[in-house]
Structure formats: C-alpha cells, structure tokens
Amino acid sequence: MGFLRKLLIIILLIILNSCGGWIKIKKIPTDSRDNLMYGNTPQRDFYIPIEISDSLEFSWEADTKGSHAHTAVTTVSRFLFIGDLAGRLICYNRITGKKVGELKNDGDISIAPAIGKYRLVYVVNEFKEKYSTVVFYDYIVGKIRHEIELPGKFVNELIIENEFVYLLSEEGKLYKYNMKGEQEWMYDAKCLTISIPAVYKEQILFNNAKGEIIAVEKNFGKELYRKKITKSFESGISVSDEKAFLGDTEGFLFCFDCEKRDIEWKFDTGSKIRSLAVFDNTNIFVGNLNGDFFSVSKTDGKLNWKTETGGLLNTPALVFKNLVVVPDQDQKVYFINKEDGVITNSIEFGKRVKLAPVYSDNTLFFGADRGIIYAYKIIMN
C-alpha cells in the first residue's frame, strides 16, 4: 500500500477515534434514583446509612484522557457521568467501565453534571470567552435541547430539584432554570462566590468570599437574608434537618441554625477549609487544607477525634455507618473508623485524588489524575 494511502488511513482513524459517539440512553427506569447531582441530594447528603468493609476489590478503571476538577461523578441506573477540564462530558457503563458516549465542548466542565427527567444539565466554562454555556441535553434522543450563555465562570455545583435547576456562578449570580431552558429568575449577590449551594426547605443557601451566608427564596428568587458571620468562605454548605454546616477560610467550622438564622456553634480546625462538611445522624466530618480530618459533634461542636494525614483535604468525604472514606489530594484515599478516627485502610493511587467518592450498588467510585476513574467493589464480611 502506498505511503500516502497509509497516511490517509491513519488520519481517518485518528479523526474517528477522537469523535466520540454522542450519549444516547434509551431507557432509564423511572423509579431509579442514584447520584443525580453532587452530594446526591439538594441538601448535599454524603451519608450512606449502611455498614461497609474497608476491604475492596478492584473492579475497573477508565481513562477519560482528560482531567478532573474537584467534583464528583453522577450516576443513574447503570450509567456514570463525568465532565473533564478539556470540555468533554463522558458517559460510562457503571458496571463494566466501558464508554457509552461523549459530548465535546471547547472549554472546561468543572462541576458534576446533574440529571433530571430526560435531561442532563451541565455547564461549560468557555475557552477564550468571558461567558459559560449551560447545556440542556436530551439523553433519550441524544440531542442538545438548549444552550444558554451566562456571563462568568461556574465552579459551584448544580442543584436539580423538581425539574428545576439552580446554578450559582463564581461572580455570585444565582439562576433558576426550568427544563425547557427558560430562566425563572436570577439573583445577584455581587460578590466572589466559591460555594456549593444547598437547599433548606424553600430556600437556596450559599456562602461567599465576604463571609456571608445568603438565603434566597426558591420560587421567586427573593433574598430572605444575608448575614456576615466570618471573614470569608471558599467551601460550601450542607444541610441536615434545620442546621447548615459550613467551613471558612480561617479554618472554622460553623453550625448555622436555619430557623434562628444564627450561629449555634463553631469549631476551630486550624487551617483553611475548602471542602464540604459532611454529616451522619450525630456527627459532622470535615477536612482542612493542612490535611487534618475531624469528627465533631453535631449538637455542640465538641471534638470527637482528629486524624492528621499530612495531605491536602479539599474534597468531601463519604460517610457510612462505620467508616468514613476520605479522599486526600496527596494521592490517597483513607478509610477511617468513625468511632476513633483510626485509619484502618488506605488506597495509594500514586496520583492526585480529585473526585469526591461516590457509592452505588456496593461499588465505590474514585477519581484521580489525569482523568482516571476507578471502581472498587466492597468486599462484604
């Protein structure tokens, strides 16, 4: 075969390989519900009320050939979705790890895609542009339904609830869209906001770099209150019952009473908190950038235990009945005994761990540089 023909075939193969098939998922059982958004629920619930073993069996590994931000995968039925920093949204078979399809964009996807009824919603921070694009993708038909340009950058996780999606930009603009791609309202906090918003009853709560906690009413976008409680926040909010938990840049973990609209207690972790505080029924768990991981009583903020990892904890942990699974950017994931804070096991990835761990069907999903997703089956005792 002549040289030119060989070259042409190689070029064609490259082009074909780089063009992923679009994501098309024919049927998702209507009563199936998995990790439809970051933290599974609008309250950012990272608690799985089951006991697990710290013994794992490697299941599969998928190379997205991209890189992750500090976000998480979302899963529904047997599908797993992840965005990467090269602008691709990729769908994998959650059981086998085989790629189902991908969508390409020119920018980055820093936050977890959210899954609603027939719609996959994600945001692309556009390359060379000062705006981002919200994409409403119909995964049944395999077609983009709406693309909406919004100014600024989106690094704050989405909320999807009752067929509405809430988006919070880094510039402090909170949007509500319906699944038809129509804007319901927009609220502008006019402040740098690196936050993971959460829902409390009819409110969207978020914090900002001015150290404020802001509550916006869900239906009409009216500001209910805006209260400065510390110097600055760069983490997010998780809500349990009437309490919101949030960590600040000085290292303080706050318990905020959403009814009284006031701080109930605060706990000093000693170093900046960037990750979400997670909870179970009785305790709060949070890590800071100094690599210290804490268990603190939900009711009064008293320290249960502290574990020093020496790493960099900027992604939330996953809480089970007996263990806490803690991702450390310094290349490891720890399994910590919830009672005493002792590390019972760890997985050494040899790369920066970026994604928050996600649990689905007895499988834990992790993500590390560059764009590798790992699935580990839990070996039950």
Binding site: G66, S67, L85, D108, K130, S232, E234, L289, L312, R352
Partner: protein, 936 residues
C-alpha cells in the same frame, strides 16, 4: 548535513569552553564540595558537612513553608523537591546547576530542568528563610500553572509574565518591607513607575519585582487575596495574561491600572509634605552611577571623599577632591583603583561593599579574589597594595574599620559554617581574634571611644522585637555583649561623630532608612533615638565631615548618589524622639530544630543521572534528502557531570540505514577546577565544509577526543585538546578517496575581561592564542601546524561608547591544511559572507561604537512597537587571505546600526565601500549588508 557536522565539530573542540566559545570568562570551581543529602518529608536537601547546622535549619524552614504554601495554592507537589544550599554567595557562584554566571544580586533561583532550588546562605537566618520561601513559591506556582494547563490540555507551554511570577514569589514569601517601600517611593515620586501595560519595559529589574509585589498587595486590598489564586486557576482560559486578569478581577486592564496608579499616588504623594528628596534637602555631589561607602579624609592640604563606585560597569575605588569644583559646582571623580578587570580585584560586592581609611592614608577594602574574599590594605601615598589577607576558613569579609591608633582592623566575616561574626586583625602581629561565634548575623561594626568597645549591628534581638537588627555593644575587656538599642525597627551603618561624643545610625522606623541619633540619659545610658533626616527614600551610608556635617549615600532615581548636609540645620521641630520602652530580653532567640519536622534521613551524595533535555529532528532538503536523529543530555543533580548522546542517520537508500548511523557520545565533567571532556564519534555521509572544499564531498570519519580546560582565574584559562580520527574522504569527487588517521593536538590561552552592552563588548580585552598540530599518522596524507592569535581591545571613550580594535592572524601550514574563512558582517564587511578562504588569514578592524537612538517608538492605531537601544558603528576593516603566496589586501569602510532583540541576538545592518584592488581603490557603489550576530 552542515548542522550535524557543526554540532559534532563544536563538541570536539569546544565541549567545555566558557560562555562564548572563542572567548568568554570562566566559572572556576575553586572548591571541591563534599555533598551530603538530607531527606525530609518533601525535600532532598543537598549541603556540605561544614554547613550542616544551617542546612538543617533551612530544611526545617522548607517543610514549614511547604505546609503553608499547599494551603495558599490549594495544591500538592507530588515529586520530591531538590534543595541545594551553599554556605556563601561565593560558593553559590560556582554552581553548575545552571550554565551561566550568577550576578551578585541573585539571592537564589529555581531552575526548570530538574526542578532544583539553589540558594546561598548570606549570613542571616531571616533572609535565608525569605529566600527559601520565595523560591518555593516559584516551585508551587509553576506546578500549579503547569497542572492547570495540562488539565485543560493546553499545548501552549506558557508561564505567567515575569512580573507576576516574581511578584507573587515576593508577595507570598515576605511582608512589604523597607526595601520594597524605598523602591516604590522612588518610582512614584521620580516618575519611573511603570503601570501594567508597560511593565514589560522593566523586565528583569528589581523594580519589576517590587512593582509585581505591590500590584498583588493592591489586588489583595481592593479585590481580595483569593483573586490571586484564581488568576492562576483561570490561566488556561485566555492566551493573554491581561485577559486572565480582566476576567478574574472583573474589570478592564486599563481600569485596573488606573486604580492601581491612583492608589499609589494617594499613598506616596502625601509623603512629600513632611519628607524630602535627597537632592532637595541636601547638596548633591555626584550625578552618575552607583556610589557607596563614602569616607571623608582631611589633612592640612587635602579634603577628599573616597568611596566605591560603579559608573562605567566596573566597580572601582574613586576619589573626589572636595576642594576642586568646576565652574558648574560639580566634582570630577577620579579612579584610584580600578576593579573587576583583574583577578586580584575580581569583585567588589556592591551594594554591600565598604572601605575605611586611616591617618596614614592606608585604605582598607575587600574584594573577591579567587575562592574567597581578600582584605586589602592600599597605600594612597605609594599607590600600591601594602598587604593583603585571605583566610581559608573565612569566605566573605565585609566592613573593615581601622582602630583609632591604626593598629587593628575590625571587620565581619562569614566562615564555612555560614556564621557571620566579628573579627579583629592585629596589623602588627597579624593575629586574628574572633569576637563572636554563632548563627546571629553580626555586621557593620565600628570602634567605640578609645577602642575599648565596639558597636555593631546584629539580628540577635530577642523578645517582642525578635530578629530585628538592633545596635549592640561589645565590651572588649569583658567580652560581653549588651543591647544598645531595643526597638522594632532595623538599624544599620552606625557612626560616631569625630570626637566620639555622639552616635548616629540609619534606622527604618518611619518606613525607610533615615539618620537617627542614639540618645543618652544623664548617666550616659542610651535610652532612645531621635530622627534627624526625613528623606523620602533611604540613606544607605554616611560619613562625618565634621561634628555636624555629613555626606550621605542616598538612593534616589534608582541610583546611589552622594549628598552633603548639615545636621545642625535640621530644625528641632523636625526631630522626633522615640524612647526605648521595653526592657530587652537577655537570652537570644533559637531556631526550631529539625527534629520537630518529622522523619528525616541523611547520607552522602550519590550521583544519579536524570534527563536534562531531549529532542528529535527530521530534516528534508532537496540536496541531501531526508535525515533524522535525536539528542539526549543527562546530568547529575549538581550539574557537574554531563553526558551527551547524539544519534543521526544520513542514509539515502534503505540498504544504507545500518551503515549510515552517525553518533556522538561525550562526557563533560566540571566538578573540579580542571574541567575535562571526552567522547567518541562517528560521521558518515555527504558534507559541505568550505574549510575543506568548495563543493560537497563524502566522508566517513570516526574516532575520539579528549579536552581539558584549566581556568587560571575568572578571566583567563588554558585549553588543550587531542583527537584521533580515522577519516576517509572523497573530496572533489576523487573516487579513489583519501584515507587518513588524523591525530590533532591544540593548546590555547584565552583571556577575557570584557564588559558588554546590548550588542557586544564595550570595554576590556579579549585574547586567544592557539597552537596546534595535526598529522596523519598512518597514511601521511595530512600534516599541518596551526597558529591563531586573536587580540581585541576596547577603549572606552564614554559611558556607552568605545573604540573597538582587533588584530588577528590565522595560520594553517602544511599538507591538507584546512582553510580559514572570512567575509561578511563579522569580519571583512562588504565582502560576501565566507567567500574569502585560505590557509592563512589576517584581520584587522577599528570600530567606533556609540549609542544612536535610545528609544524609537512607532505607534499604530492598533499596536505600538518599541525599539530600545539602537546602536551605531563607524568602522574600518582590513585583511588578507592566502594559501601559499600572499595575494592581496582587502578592506572596507562604512557605518552600521545594531539592534539587540531581548538581549538574545543582534540584528546588524552595514553600509559602506569595499577597498579593492589590493587596497588601492574604493568600490564604485555602496554595499549593503544585513546579518545577525554580536559585535566582535
């Protein structure tokens, strides 16, 4: 294939030569470092045994900084970071981790090839910590930005601009301090401030560092410190960094610049209400260059000022005759002792340098000479060095001070442990007495009244003002040290009045260094300080003319000039008194030991070689076809030992592939004073070498080479080389071929103390002498002698002008002697480049070099272009080329312009007339010649 051959040729004969192949200065390895390695959690710390204590302290600082920076950057460095510590700047200058020379002002660096951080210790624990912090910010920033780009699959390997890189390194490693304040005040008040839009014009300068730092301070205040990390995290999003800033801060760059400039004006302009420029409140005595360490000297017949200055690019000792003013009231400085042109006065260590002079007109000063500093005593009467002192265990020496009776000399010096301590040299018995011996930075010592005590500056301050530089006294009878001042400010340059009744010093209590008097109570105890001067920028040193008049070295308009002022003229309302309120804490501060930093291990340094760079290349051209190859360079962590591998294939048809591999393997070792290299090579294929033939020919050649380089000093060296090669050549398509086993030996002497401007040398001398002998020891097909003498001297006629002269003779005499080539912009201008070829060549040039256009700006509506530093030349060239019989003398006259592109290469354009017909007539027309390359 010329390129391949050129590379091999370069490695054969110039594999270990200095910075510029034919000439160049030398990086001399005076010391044989016995490297050790200390492994902490994140760092591999390299040091040598005598320096162990400070190295451990540095390792502890590094670990603390790592924990701090991982939080600031929200980022982890996953590889181990090599830290290389030297116990002094003189040792640091010997490092082979980077190829170039390291100027005095460089406090450390982070190099990208192996990710090494290399830092000298300069006597101060606090400054050491600052530099470690600074360089580690670079490490984190680079890793962060690299990962951001790689995560976003950006193929553009760019970094943020230098002002941001250095600005953030300062911003996140230290607080805004006196030096930074002084620089920014000077920039704003004297209109040398460059907003972001034009900051590229001060690229690489200290002003750029401080403007970068200041801009980030402004961003923190105006927009929030979190925006700074966001700039790095948004770095992938836009091609231009200005767009990244705009996007992150949410405003246009013009608006941000305006806000920043206004912020600085608001801060600094009000200072002029109560503070004064030096030239307003004092009489300016000098106008050019950097002038430091003034020392007043008076006799019945003389009233002079001696000092160290750098006006023309070489730091030297100058004198101003204060009784001799010109009609404009200006003084004409005279060079007493020229520095930095010869080994004995190799470096003056500006701006730390200082001198002293005694009643017998003996001048004491310090220069680097060889492996360490030397303390010189120079007679101003006989104009000669009367004594010099160099100590094996003292590396840096500073601040010599004669006792009142002239029999002793006080100074501070740093030893091999890195300790900066005080010493007294008995000038009669030549005994050396050490007064302090600890890691506190003791310096700038002066004699007290009757030479019974010493006042010095030290960072041994403890308690509330820990590590601040206060004044201390040393009682020579009791060998005890006491606080003299105790404040939260830094002091420097203490001086008694001539009658020792009062003590003055520089102090930065009001934000910049000004002159303060140390006040005594009725019992004679020092109890406070009174501010006398209120300069808006710093005083660096001063000398008393009489009990109230002083001459200061003041920083203004980015230079150091002398000013005369009378302290008695300062009204009392301007003198602000500050009492010492606290009782000093007696015991000294301590450093956290490494034991608290977690698990460590240590051991001897074992060489392991890692990749420096690798590249591959595929070339295709109509003459030689397609060829390909690659090159690989490996070196050890210290950069002392380098291996080069070069592989290339010149086959024209597939059956020739195996037989047509070209390679070069060489090793270059620079660890010791004698640098050596050796290697093997093979070349086969077509080549075009006009030193052999006017047409291309086919050659196969293989062999080996050895070369040695011995630097006699920074300025001179001996080189020798030997090569043995089998050569089978088919010149001029003589199909019988020419075989030879060539043995070639060369011996060279090189001297270079030239000073360069942007386009070439402007002062100094460059010499190369070479003798060589080449013989075919097998077939007798070649045998020739080589002789090269190239002498270039540059006569400085003004600050940026010189008459450059050159005389060169090149001879190859014998069988199959190679030809030399001439013609073109580098030698005989006007003649076609390399068109003149012969076994003998002589060249001579005289060229007047001068600044032509300092700044040319062309502004289009959409774009502005700036061309700084365009230089001009008027020249005369002459030369001749011949083989057996001398043919004719050729020449040219003309003028030209030169322009340096970012100091990387020089564009040259010449116009003139050739001198033809054996130097008998000018060509009828003009020639126009464009090329690139430095001036000779």
């Amino acid at each position: 294939m010329k390129k391949c051959y050129l590379i091999i040729f370069l490695f054969l004969f110039e594999s270990i030569s200095a910075q510029i192949f034919f000439f160049g200065r030398n990086k001399v390895q005076y010391d044989d470092f016995d490297w050790q390695i200390l492994k902490t959690e994140h760092f591999d710390v390299y040091y040598y045994p005598e320096f162990e204590e400070i190295a451990e302290i540095g390792a502890a600082f590094a670990e603390e900084t790592y924990d701090d920076l991982k939080v600031k950057f929200n980022h982890i460095i996953t590889r181990r970071i090599p830290l290389i510590f030297y116990n002094s700047h003189i040792h640091f200058q010997q490092t082979n981790t980077i190829p170039g020379f390291i100027p005095e002002g460089v406090g450390g660096f982070f190099e990208f090839m192996k990710g090494r951080v290399v830092i000298p210790y300069i006597g101060s624990i606090k400054k050491f910590r600052h530099v470690i912090n600074h360089e580690l910010v670079h490490v984190f920033m680079r890793s962060k930005v690299y990962n951001v780009q790689r995560d976003h699959r950006s193929l553009d390997p760019k970094l943020p601009p230098l002002w941001f890189t250095e600005g953030i390194a300062e911003f996140w490693s230290t607080k805004w301090d006196t030096k930074a304040e002084m620089i920014m005040r000077d920039a704003m008040i004297n209109n040398i401030f460059f907003p972001l839009k034009y900051i590229y014009q001060i690229n690489g300068t200290f002003l750029m560092y401080k403007e970068g730092q200041n801009f980030l301070e402004f961003v923190k205040e105006e927009y929030g410190e979190e925006k700074i990390l966001l700039m790095m995290e948004n770095f992938w999003r836009f091609h231009k960094f200005s767009e990244v800033i705009e996007f992150t801060l949410g405003e246009s760059i013009t608006k941000i610049d305006e806000k920043w400039t206004f912020h600085l004006k608001q801060k600094y302009y009000p200072l002029m209400k109560n503070k004064y420029p030096h030239h307003i409140s004092a009489n300016k005595l000098t106008t050019k260059g950097f002038n430091l360490s003034p020392r007043y000297y008076k006799t019945a017949s003389e009233e002079s000022l001696y000092y160290i200055g750098n006006v023309d690019g070489y730091a030297s000792i100058y004198k101003i005759d204060l009784l001799d003013k010109d009609e404009d009231g200006k003084y004409d400085p005279e060079i007493i002792l020229r520095g930095e042109k010869e080994t004995v006065f190799e470096k003056f260590h500006l701006p730390d340098a200082s001198i002293d002079i005694n009643d017998e007109k003996i001048l004491a000063f310090v220069t680097k000479s060889g492996s360490s500093d030397v303390l010189h005593l120079y007679s101003l009467v006989s104009e000669e060095i009367v004594n010099s002192f160099q100590y094996n265990n003292l590396i840096n020496i500073r601040s010599p001070k004669f006792s009142s009776d002239g029999k002793s000399l006080l100074f501070n010096a740093s030893d091999r442990k890195g300790y900066s301590d005080l010493f007294i040299l008995d000038l009669e018995k030549f005994n050396l007495q050490r007064l302090t011996n600890d890691y506190f930075d003791d310096k700038e010592a002066i004699w007290g009244k009757n030479d019974q005590s010493i006042v010095f500056v030290s960072d041994r301050t403890n308690g509330q003002f820990s590590q601040k530089y206060n004044l201390f006294t040393y009682d020579l009878s009791k060998n005890s040290i006491d606080y003299l001042t105790y404040t939260g400010a830094d002091f420097s340059s203490p001086h008694f009045t001539p009658d020792f009744s009062e003590l003055y010093a520089n102090c930065d209590y009001d934000g910049t260094f000004n002159i303060w008097k140390i006040e005594k109570d009725d019992l004679g105890n020092y109890n406070g300080i009174t501010q006398y001067t209120h300069f808006v920028t710093s005083v660096f040193d001063f000398t008393f003319v009489d009990s109230s008049k002083i001459i200061t070295s003041g920083f203004e308009n980015f230079s150091f000039q002398f000013y005369l002022l009378d302290l008695e003229n300062i009204p009392d309302t301007n003198k602000h008194y500050l009492a010492f309120k606290q009782e000093p804490v007696k015991h000294n501060w301590e450093i956290n030991s490494l034991a608290k930093m977690g698990p460590v291990s240590s051991g001897s340094y074992g060489k392991s070689y890692t990749l420096d760079y690798a590249y591959t290349q595929l070339i295709t051209d109509p003459l030689y076809g397609t060829r390909g190859g690659g090159m690989l360079a490996l070196s050890d962590m210290m950069g002392d030992d380098q291996f080069l591998f070069f592989l290339y294939n010149t086959a024209q048809i597939s059956s020739d592939v195996m037989s047509h591999f070209n390679f070069l393997v060489s090793r270059i070792n620079r660890k010791h004073r004698i640098n050596y290299s050796y290697g093997l090579f093979r070349y086969i294929g077509d080549r075009y070498d006009i030193r052999v033939s006017n047409s291309r020919y086919y050659e196969e050649s293989y062999g080996g080479f050895v070369s040695l380089l011995y630097p006699l000093s920074t300025f001179s060296r001996i080189e020798t080389g030997m090569s043995m090669a089998y050569s089978e050549r088919d010149v001029d398509y003589n199909y019988e071929g020419r075989k030879a086993v060539l043995m070639s030996n060369t011996l060279s002497y090189v001297h270079d103390n030239s000073l360069w401007l942007g386009t070439g040398p402007i002062d100094g001398t460059r010499i190369r002498l070479l003798v060589g002998y080449t013989k075919d020891i097998q077939y007798n097909n070649a045998q020739y002698y080589s002789f090269i003498a190239d002498y270039r001297k540059y006569f400085r006629i003004a600050e940026r002008s010189a008459i450059a002269t050159r005389a060169a003779l090149f001879i190859n005499e014998g069988k199959e002697a190679r030809r030399f080539i001439a013609g073109g912009s580098w030698d005989l201008r006007g003649w076609r480049r390399w068109s003149l070829r012969g076994e003998k060549l002589w060249l001579s040039s005289v060229e007047l070099r001068f600044p032509l256009i300092d700044q040319l700006q062309i502004k289009f509506p959409w774009l502005g272009l700036g061309f700084p530093g365009i230089r001009g030349a008027l020249y005369f060239d002459a030369g001749g080329v011949w083989n057996d019989e001398y043919e004719e003398t050729l020449g040219s006259v003309g003028m030209g312009i030169r322009f340096s592109i970012f100091r990387g290469f020089v564009l040259r354009y010449d116009i003139g007339k050739k001198i033809e017909d054996n130097f008998s007539k000018f060509q009828n027309s003009l020639f126009y010649q464009f090329f690139i390359g430095w001036d000779f």
